[in-house]
Amino acid sequence: MAQYFGTAVEDIFNTMGERFLPEGAQDVNVTIGYNISGDGGGHWKVTIQEGTLKVETMDGEVADCTAVLHANAETFVGVTLGRIDAGEAFSSGNIKVDGDLTVLIAILPKAFRPFKPVVKASTIVESVEERFRPEKAEGVDVKIGYDLSGEGGGQWTVVVKDQTCTLKDVLDDDCTVVMRMEAQVFVDLNQGKLDGATAFTSGQVKVDGDIGAAGQTTSLFRKYVSEGAAEEKGEELISLKCLPSINQRYATGPMMGKWFDGLKEKKFYAAKCPECGRTLVPPREICAQCRVRCNELVEVGPEGTVTIVDVVYYASPDPLTGKIRETPYTALFMILDGASNDESFAHDLNPKDIDRIKSGMKVRPVWADDRKGNYKDLLYFEIAD
């Protein structure tokens, strides 16, 4: 059916019932005829009487009403949506009114909530190829599946590869990620009526597969703007974006200095408290419990026993580069051999051991071949078997 600015003529009449404001139509007794010509046009008669509304589709030309409006479909929709200036439409003769013009000018705005175009989920998905931004898709190779339930929903796969975008109207088996939700939730998200984080956290949107790929969709596609969306002259609110950057130099002191030397030699040094005897690793000058200075270093490890395993699925992007660590990765808490029982040491696990690692296992450090005495010398730990 013919659409102008994303809306069909009959959408305007079909929604009159829900947009009617009886309190604005008190003491109103009028009939309004509409003769809309052109593709998608038709004839309608609207009766407002004693605070009630009747909208009838008519077979032929409507006459004998308090006011009768004649217009072509495009002008009628355009003026209703505010996309065509009403004054100009009248002056140019694109809209003609027989009868009492004040009915249209004074009564209609009080009796009805303004028409806002209804957007269907399928319309938004189907526009994805036009909204694609190839310049943002360098090196991107993903298949994003949409499984939208309810009216206006459907299943689609958006394939992004070699900086091109193709839409398929089936849900492929091998999608990188599939987003499932009610069609209306999808529409609300795209129109900014529902915030993505809320929808996701509260379970209204379910994501199967690579969550990172789901996050990419915002940058790969221009935002959907329905054709009928009038340019709302919002307030301009200014924000100053900046990246303050401060260079720094940190002194290690003798303890951490020795720790880094130890890494070069594939050794772990811990500070030993002269009072309580516990080991502090990495070494610290003061034992916080006894509040005395430690001046002895002992060697601990290099192997350790795992106490708790933390599997990280969500890694925050590096604030400067935007890069995200590959997930999942595993962080380990362990007691190094010879260290006291109450102070754990934390580091990463070799990705190859993610499926096998359990609390209680023994792990050993894996060192970089070329060690310079900094944190990069220790790559990760792996299961010692």
Partner: protein, 397 residues
């Protein structure tokens, strides 16, 4: 802990709405909004304030010494001003500091301002930069860890622990839906436990997205007065009975074979001992706990209330932490609902005080609230614990 020189009452509380969209206000204006609400609530003007204390997590808004800029909106012009930055516990530390300043006799009326405008900053970056630059900064993943979830599942069984944590989370959301100022309200229901338990995306281990707190923008301002002034200026001042601050080293290293006593437990033990509270679950009428995640909220209920075994889970399962239970926890929805970091720890005593006053809003507990407990959390598992009272009758004890 020395003797209190004089009693201190909370006479005014002001809160802005908490949201993640405050593009229409700059930092000064947001502070000012909270200040105006607090002054209105107390029924006083800037002339009555002797000293202003200000706090937030500085690196988050990328403004050095923001209290100086914010004085354009905080009313601190011509007054004495102090700044407190103690990480996540800042809000509660502000309350403790205000109490100390007024109790000491040096000031009669002190206004404390806690705020955060995270939308303007970079939270994870800020938190990561708390870690020492020599070693931990390179390993840190922000503030996320599932160690508590792992330990709870081992102690109580995977199914029971996961259900309890999810029930806690949904209970918090139900409270948040009542609180008109809460930031996130999802409208969750208990019949979603099984679904969310297994489908909410995992962040780290069993710590799922639904369990985690958000980040919010907003300000909370409280006004404190000496007993004499409080009784003159305010119909129903809320009295600060006692508070304790237990911080520890900035290391995340107590996951060894033996776990040292948690700061929460230590704080509760010391505070209750010196105040003669032998059964916290019976004594307190409300507990506003700083619960950054549902797992921590549940685990710390045991620590703070000095419970043993699975007592805390049974209390949750029996509905005793609900609004109509024996000890309601977080009628405001807690930190998972609103988290304006510099203010969050102040919101806890603020909401608790409003419960005592009886004007907390739709989330008001129906039974009379006379004894309240509020906690603050920050950094590497630090605790601030505050006791509030409706009447001044504890001193005869």
């Amino acid at each position: 802990m020395g003797k209190r020189n004089r009693n201190v009452g909370i006479i005014g509380i002001g809160q802005t709405e908490y949201s993640s969209h405050k593009e229409h206000q700059n930092q000064v204006e947001m502070v000012n909004e909270g200040v105006r609400y607090a002054l209105e609530d107390a029924g006083i003007t800037l002339d009555d304030i002797d000293c202003v204390i200000h706090g937030n997590m500085e690196l988050f808004e990328m403004v050095h010494q923001p209290d100086l800029w914010h004085s354009l909106g905080s009313g601190a012009y011509g007054k004495e001003q102090l700044r407190i930055t103690t990480g996540g516990t800042t809000g509660a530390s502000l309350v403790c500091a205000a109490d100390n300043l007024v109790a000491s006799g040096m000031y009669d009326v002190v206004m404390a301002i806690g705020l955060e405008k995270l939308q303007e900053g970079h939270t994870t970056g800020g938190i990561t930069n708390m870690a020492d630059p020599l070693w931990f900064r390179h390993l840190q993943t922000g503030a996320l860890t599932a160690t508590t979830a792992t330990m709870m599942m081992e102690e109580f069984g995977e199914e029971r622990a996961k259900r309890a944590a999810m029930k806690y989370r949904i209970m918090m959301d139900k409270h948040a839906c009542l609180n008109p100022r809460a930031h996130r309200r999802f409208g969750l229901d208990y019949d979603q436990i099984d679904d969310l338990m297994n489908t909410s995306p995992q962040l780290v281990g069993e710590l799922r997205l639904i369990h985690m707190c958000s980040q919010s923008d907003g300000a909370c301002v409280m006004i404190f007065a000496s007993e004499e002034k409080a009784k003159k200026l305010c119909k129903n001042p809320v009295w600060i009975r006692d508070h304790i601050t237990v911080h520890r080293e900035e290391t995340f290293n107590n996951f060894g074979i033996e776990m040292p006593e948690m700061t929460h437990h230590y704080a509760a033990r010391k505070l209750f001992e010196r105040n003669g509270v032998t059964n916290p679950v019976e004594y307190f009428d409300v507990f506003e706990m700083y619960d950054p995640s549902a797992w921590w909220g549940l685990d710390w209920a045991r620590e703070f209330l000095l419970l043993k075994g699975d007592e805390h889970i049974r209390l949750l399962e029996d509905g005793e932490f609900d609004l109509d239970g024996k000890l309601p926890i977080n009628p405001s929805g807690g930190v998972t609902a609103s988290n304006p970091i510099g203010a969050t720890a102040m919101l806890r005593p603020a909401e608790a005080a409003m419960q005592i006053r009886g004007d907390a809003g739709p989330q008001q507990i129906k039974k009379e609230v006379r004894h309240a407990l509020a906690s603050g959390f920050g950094g590497t598992l630090w605790t601030v614990l505050i006791m509030l009272e409706k009447d001044l009758d504890w001193q005869e004890v």
